[in-house]
Symmetry: C2
Subunit: 346 residues, 2 copies
DNA sequence: ATTAGCACTTGAAGTGCGAGAGTGCTAACA
DNA sequence: TGTTAGCACTCTCGCACTTCAAGTGCTAAT
C-alpha cells in the first residue's frame, strides 16, 4: 500500500501531534500547518479512516492513529537520529558503573533504559539453544553439599548448590565425572531431555544411585543455559502513562508473569533479518498488550549466545526517540558482556 | 492506655467493619449492633477521636481507625486463628513444588504469599553480618576467566565469575590461596572494609598485581553475604486496592527501589524479642508508606543466617488473616532452606 | 449516665445547559 | 475534477444547581 504524498503528510502530522500530546487531532489544526483547507483535510482523513490508518474515539472528535497507522508511519515516514556523543558517553558511563557481573550488567541496563525512556523495560538473560556443554565442575562445599558449575560453548555460565545424602569422596567424584564425560559433555543443551536423564539415572548401579540429585541438577542447569529468562524493570513508570490506558491493571498483572513475557519476547525472534523488532498495539499476540507497543533489540556476545532488551509502553510512545535508545543500549550490553567473557580479544 | 470495655467494643467493631468494606462506619449501624443508642455511641466515638484512635474523613461522615487505632486493635483486641490443616498442606505442597534452589524457594514463597494475600510481598535474601568466611574456592573456567565461590559459617553461599588478564596457573592459584588464608578465611564478613581491601592490594608484589580483580570480587562476595537484598513480588496486586490509596504511583515507585526496601525491612529488626513485626501506616518511617501497612516475619536457617518475608498492603488489610499466613510461610521457608543446607540433621 | 430530638455539614449523584471542537455533507468554484 | 466554503449535527466537558442520604454535635429530657 502506497499513499499519496499528501496523505502521507497528513498521517505523519497526525502521528507526530498525537504522540506527545495524546490529544486527537482535528482538521483545523492541520489545515493551518499544511496549507490546505480544513475541508480537504477532512476528506483525506476520512479516506485514511477507511484505509484503517486512522480512527476516531467518538463520532465527532479528532482522529488518532491506529496500529496500522503507526506501522505505516514507522516503516515509511519516520526518521530517527542517532544519539549524540554526549549522551552516548553518559550512558556508557552509567552502564559501566555497576558492571561487575553479567547479571548486574543486565539488571543495570534494564534500569537505565527504564529511566531513560520512562517506560517499562524487559531484559532476557543470554541463552543459546545450539550451545554445547563445554565444561562441568563439581566442587564440594561441605561434606554433603556441592557446587555444580556448567559452562557452555557460547560462554554461558550457570551454577547451583546441590545437596546429596552421601559423602562426596573421590569415588563419587570419579563416577560423576565419568557420567558427565559420557553423556553431558559436548552435548547440545537443546537436546537434553527428560527421557535422556531418566535413562542415565536408570542405568546407575546401586552404589552410584546416590548421585542422582547431582545429575538432576546438572540437567536443570543445562536447560537453563538453553532458555532465556525475562525480567521486567520500571513497571511503575507505566503508571505515569495511565491516561493512555483504559485499565492499566491488566497490563501490570501481565508483566508480572515471567513465562508470558518470555513468550512475548520470543515471538519477536521470528524475523531473522533484522536485530530490531517493533510490535504495535494489536500486532501483539497477547490481548493484554493491545494498548501497548514493544520495541525489542537483540544483543549478542561470545559465540552465538544472545538475549533481548526492549521497552514496553503505550502505543503512542515516541518511537523516533526510543528506537535509537534501545539500539544503542543493546549494543553496549553486548560489548560489555563480551569484555567479561571473551578469552582472546582485548 | 487502657480503654473501657465499651470503648474497646466500639473500636473493634469500627475496625472490623471498616477493613472489609472500606466504608466509614457511623453511629447508627453500631447502635443496632451493640444495643446502645446512637447518641451514646456518638459520645464514645467522639472521645475515641480525641484519643487519636479514630478519625473522620470530613466533618460529617462516619469514623475510620487511625494507625493508632489499628495498633490498639491488633495489640489488645484482635484474635487470630491458626491456619487449617488443609490449607497448611496445600501451601507446603506449593512451596515444595519449585523448591530446587534456595533462590527459587524464596522467589516462590514471595509469589505464593502474594497470591494468597492479594498484596505485594517483600522477601529478603538470607544474610548474617556475624558470619565468618569459612571457605573460598577458585575454579578456572577458561584460560582467563575463573569462578569464585564463597561459603560462610552460617551456610550462605555466594559465587561470581571473574575475569583477569593473566593465565590462571598454579602459581597464581597458590598466591591467591595464600592471601585468602591470611586475610579472608575466618574473617567476619561484617568486618570486611574498603581499607582492608586496599591494604591487601597495596601489599601485592609486582608479579601478583594481576590477581587484584580476584580479590576485589572476593571482597564483594563477602559483602553480599553480610547484607540481605530485598525483592518485591506481586506489586500489581496493589492496584486492586487502588481505592484505599489517594495516588498509588508514589507507592509503586517506592517499591521498585531495592535499597529503600532494604531499609524499610531492616528498620523492623530492632524489636529483638519477637519474630513478627507489624508497622501500620504512619508508623512506617517512609512517607511513601504512610497509607500502607507492613507485616514482617523472620525466617532463620543454618547457623544464624536469616532473612525476612512480609506483606505490604493498605492500612486496612485483614491483619487477623494475614498474620498467621505470613507466620506460617516464614516457618516453612526456614525449614525448607535448612533442609537444603544443613549438614548434620535429617 | 443515657437517650431523644433537632439543626447543621458534607459528599455523592443527578440534571440541565452552553461552549467548544470537530465532523459529514452539499453546493459552489477554479 | 479536485478544492473549498458553509452549515447542520454530534459529542464531550465543565459548570452550576438541586436533591438525597448519612452522620455529626449539641441541648434538653429521662
Amino acid at each position: 500500500m502506497k499513499l499519496s504524498a499528501r496523505k502521507e503528510k497528513i498521517l505523519a502530522n497526525v502521528v507526530e501531534h498525537y504522540i506527545p500530546t495524546g490529544e486527537p487531532v482535528g482538521s483545523k489544526a492541520l489545515s493551518e500547518k499544511l496549507g490546505y483547507s480544513s475541508a480537504t483535510i477532512r476528506n483525506e482523513m476520512s479516506e485514511l479512516c477507511e484505509l484503517g490508518l486512522l480512527e476516531k474515539n467518538h463520532a465527532s472528535s479528532g482522529r488518532i492513529p491506529t496500529s496500522a497507522g503507526y506501522r505505516y508511519y514507522i516503516d515509511n515516514l519516520m526518521s530517527t537520529s542517532p544519539l549524540g556523543d554526549m549522551e552516548c558517553a553518559k550512558l556508557e558511563a552509567m552502564l559501566r558503573a555497576g558492571a561487575k557481573t553479567p547479571e548486574k550488567i543486565l539488571e543495570n541496563a534494564g534500569g537505565i533504559l527504564a529511566r531513560l525512556t520512562g517506560c517499562a523495560t524487559v531484559v532476557t538473560t543470554p541463552a543459546d539453544a545450539q550451545a554445547k556443554i563445554s565444561k562441568v565442575e563439581l566442587i564440594p562445599a561441605s561434606s554433603k553439599t556441592a557446587i555444580l558449575v556448567l559452562l557452555t560453548s557460547s560462554g554461558i555460565l550457570k551454577n547451583c548448590v546441590c545437596r546429596i545424602d552421601i559423602d562426596i569422596n573421590e569415588n563419587v567424584k570419579d563416577r560423576f565425572k565419568e557420567i558427565v564425560d559420557k553423556y553431558f559433555l559436548k552435548a547440545k543443551v537443546a537436546e537434553l531431555s527428560e527421557e535422556m536423564l531418566e535413562e542415565i539415572i536408570g542405568a546407575l548401579e546401586n552404589e552410584d544411585y546416590a548421585i542422582k540429585p547431582l545429575l538432576s541438577a546438572l540437567y536443570e542447569l543445562g536447560k537453563e543455559a538453553g532458555e532465556s529468562k525475562a525480567y521486567v524493570e520500571g513497571e511503575s513508570n507505566l503508571l505515569a502513562h495511565r491516561d493512555a490506558y483504559g485499565d492499566i491493571t491488566e497490563l501490570m498483572q501481565f508483566l508480572q508473569q515471567r513465562e508470558q513475557l518470555s513468550r512475548l519476547v520470543s515471538f519477536q525472534e521470528t524475523p531473522q533479518n533484522s536485530r530490531m523488532s517493533i510490535l504495535i498495539g494489536s500486532e501483539n499476540y497477547f490481548a493484554e498488550m493491545e494498548q501497548s507497543s514493544v520495541i525489542l533489540s537483540r544483543y549478542a556476545f561470545g559465540n552465538n549466545a544472545m538475549g533481548t532488551i526492549g521497552v514496553i509502553g503505550p502505543t503512542r510512545i515516541d518511537y523516533a526517540k526510543l528506537i535509537p535508545d534501545v539500539e544503542y543500549l543493546t549494543d553496549m550490553v553486548g560489548r560489555l558482556l563480551s569484555e567479561h567473557y571473551s578469552e582472546d580479544e582485548e
